[in-house]
Symmetry: C2
Subunit: 208 residues, 2 copies
């Protein structure tokens, strides 16, 4: 019996929130989809194991990664204690592993079901925490480049919340709460008026 970590890795694709799942190559639950995870190595910290596993699966580090909850006995038989983490990554910067017996793949969050080990509940809980933190923190920082337009940020929020937002109210909130600020620079995308670039006030996870 050992301790394990399990990861809920979210990304935003074509305006939809997706989560990374792997197809289990081994029993139990062989062939079913499940959240990626792994056993804690000797001398490794929890956060370290989560970050290592995240880098293994997606190739990224330095993104939003936070402890979610600790479960017992939903492991794969090898783990007694499972510490769940959730992360947000920019899909454009990830490189999924392409092993034959391990196929990781993005799955839309709406529509996951019949996963191994009650993993739906973990995803649902994680999604709720994400939605909550979106309202008052900078969690989205790891989904966007250094600078971005407000519209880009709004698309990300809409994808995560699953509902359209009002442009003016959105701007007031994220600027008013001090989540983002204007950079003074503008950018032009194709046939449009130049748009103001914004940046996150901090690219570190906010401590509430």
């Amino acid at each position: 019996m050992a301790t394990a970590v399990v990861l809920v890795i979210f990304t935003v694709q074509r305006d939809g929130l997706s989560v990374l799942l792997i197809e289990r190559a081994a029993d139990p639950c062989k062939g079913q989809w499940a959240l990626p995870g792994g056993i804690l190595r000797e001398g490794e910290s929890l956060g370290g194991a989560a970050a290592r596993k995240l880098a293994d699966e997606t190739g990224v580090s330095d993104v939003f990664l936070e402890q979610l909850f600790t479960f017992d006995r939903l492991g794969d038989g090898r783990a007694e204690i499972v510490v769940a983490y959730f992360a947000l990554v920019d899909v454009a910067r990830t490189r999924l592993r392409a092993e034959l017996e391990w196929r990781p793949a993005w799955h839309s969050v709406r529509g996951v079901s019949s996963l191994a080990f009650e993993n739906e509940r973990i995803i649902e809980y994680s999604n709720q925490r994400l939605r909550n933190k979106l309202e008052y923190t900078n969690v989205a920082y790891s989904l966007l480049p250094e600078q971005f337009t407000l519209t880009e940020l709004q698309r990300v929020h809409e994808a995560i919340l699953g509902e359209p937002l009002d442009k003016r109210n959105f701007r007031r909130r994220v600027v008013g709460l001090g989540i983002v600020r204007e950079t003074g620079k503008t950018v032009k995308y194709g046939a449009h008026r130049p748009a103001m670039l914004f940046e996150f006030v901090s690219r570190q996870p906010m401590t509430v």
Copy 2:
């Protein structure tokens, strides 16, 4: 190396929030105050271990008890993973253990310092979560009897938040949010006008 639980057990005494600490009888940190905790037994669940430890220390069960956070390597040398829980108990119903080498005692939350194993940080975090949950849930249910007056509930809130509250605003909030409701009965305490008795809408932990 094993998994352990550690407990932040709060109570309210004379209008102050207190936490239960034990004086360590064994190295490391012998003689220092620390949060009570224990090693997970074979086949025991996390929540089960927390509830057992809580009953060991205070004699109570069926109170608010919730998982807080999971730490690594702040154990006492025997534990690698430490899952922290926090609880709220009615001091009037507790019976502390009175062992020579183990003296548990209530300590006012304002004024704890130099505890073993960074335990202050756990207490601080726990206190913050408690204050947050107080605003929109029924966490206080395990500090009060079945029925109580609004003033009694308000005293509890004030003790936990550490600041006085307005009577009228307080009533509007707890009634308006559906945390408590009138029972229709009244009670008289000494030389006072009879007071309406209230009860919690539910005495189970609210799931947000």
